[in-house]
Amino acid sequence: MNWIRVHLMMQLDSFALDAAFSAPPVGVTALFGPSGSGKTTLLRCIAGLERAQGWLRVHGEPWQDEKTFMPVHMRPLGYVFQEASLFPHLSVRANLEYGLKRIPLSERKVPLEQVVEWLGLSRLIDRKNPALLSGGERQRVAIGRALLTSPRILLMDEPLSALDSNSKQEILPYLERLHRELNIPMLYVSHAMDEVTRLADHLVLLDKGKVLASGALGETLARLDLPTAHFDDAGAVIEAAVAQQDEKYHLTRLDFAGGFLWAGKVDQPFGTRVRARVLARDVSIATQAPQGSSINNILNARIEEILDEGPDKVIVRMKVGDSQTLLSRITRRSRDHLCLVAGMYVCAQVKSVALMA
């Protein structure tokens, strides 16, 4: 499988974009960074909407190098802008079919009915005026319109940021569904940690036009040398499967490599893959298995690294089992009282587990 390989440079007003990274040819790669870090510009350069220096290969095909610059309309991509940007002079159906009509029949791999089903568009498709749709509905049509060109890569520029939180919650399940059912890699620009942890598999961290880190989501979020570990909502991402239902107490056991967690009831059949998030601030540490604790989830862990975070706090990276990382934010005093050092075996008490899907 050919990875998406990027090295693009461009002089911007306040800094130079100089971004090199590779993204896997499957799943969602998040381009994550603060506002003004150049992520949208980078995505526009990848689409060919801006002309950067450098090179870009997608699925082994050169889209840009010293000699070539493939024009936007020749690149087999789908692009979803921050604002839905539906064509106001076309009906919803004509908007959806705009790109579909422009690709040869032999390349049409995504049928209209499928997209209508995936994105719940059946009640919208016969509407005449796209301006009368709600923000969330418009964005769903825009995503469908992009998908119907049967793109080999889907580029999304903060597709949820212009929406209110209700519309966001309305769209996220659709995006997750695309993530599961669609065999198209996605580059997803976002500055919202909750979207990234929900959707992404791979993370490219950007700051001032440079790539700080690029790697699998869980591993990268667990790196204490990156700013993401020091956000208030820093935490670990756990890929787990539904293993057991406790009907009496309305809980679900989620198994992951290295242990299990009890979470609020997940109405999914046995074996369903779910993604859970455990925030660093919700994990406390005990040197011995606590007696008579109200906390349901106590995991055996090994401390790998402890880093000071300001005058009163430290962040602790632990490993549960062979591969699962957990972060914990505790006070410096606790660290000293418990004499915590790297290599120690401890009990990680998880106060709350957030299910992403």
Partner: protein, 229 residues
């Protein structure tokens, strides 16, 4: 004093409508690419071109007509070209009037279209490009339909402005019935000959026509603000 339109006046009305129609069609053909270029170019001489296009807005029509007469006359650049190509003389001909009218009304066609192209911004065209539309396809399937109000305004303004023009016609075409005697000149002649009844009929018709044009413009939702006169 005679009332009612004489055959010469009717001829003038038809000639005026013909001149306005031909001019409007030519103007749309010229103004569309020009407006596109003006709304998208970042060349340093864009300001220069804009100024030249807008010049007829501020120049007295007699000045414009005077120079057009010189350029198209036997000693003028264009005049020498047309006589070398055996196309005959331009001044005092219908073709000369068309050229004069096109120059005179150019800003009225260019500015509304340019404003419409600028108002839509780059986004719709970018979206179309990501949906596999090439440059020409984007222009036809997105830019033109979105600029429709601008085209409507341009058409109506160019037509109406040509119908009402006087100074340029007088300088360039004089008063030859059936060839260059348009409505505004006919009214002038009637007034000079003290035929106020005939002048009233034509002038009143012009007032009514102009009013209907403006009414149509406002109902069509086009903006007159597109022209800065």
């Amino acid at each position: 004093m005679e009332t009612g339109l004489n055959p010469e006046d009717i001829q003038a009305v038809w000639l005026t409508l013909k001149l306005a129609s031909v001019t409007t069609v030519l103007l749309l053909l010229i103004a569309t690419p020009l407006a596109w270029w003006l709304s998208h170019s970042r060349k340093w001489y864009k300001g220069l071109v804009s100024a030249v296009v807008a010049l007829p807005l501020v120049l007295p029509p007699t000045v414009l007509g005077f120079y057009l007469l010189l350029v198209m006359g036997p000693q003028g650049l264009v005049g020498e070209l047309t006589s070398a190509l055996n196309l005959g003389r331009l001044p005092f001909s219908f073709a000369g009037l068309v050229i004069g009218s096109v120059v005179f009304s150019l800003p009225f066609a260019v500015q509304p279209i340019q404003n419409a192209f600028e108002a839509m911004g780059p986004r719709p065209l970018e979206v179309a490009a990501t949906l596999r539309a090439n440059a020409w396809d984007r222009f036809v399937s997105v830019a033109l339909p979105l600029a429709r109000p601008g085209f409507l305004t341009a058409t109506i303004l160019a037509f109406a402005h040509t119908v009402g023009e006087f100074g340029v016609v007088l300088m360039l075409g004089g008063n030859i019935p059936g060839e260059t005697r348009v409505l505004s000149v006919a009214i002038y002649s009637h007034v000079e000959a003290m035929e106020y009844g005939a002048a009233h009929l034509l002038a009143g018709g012009m007032v009514l026509f102009s009013f209907l044009v403006l009414l149509g413009l406002y109902f069509a939702g086009g903006k007159l603000g597109g022209v800065s006169k």
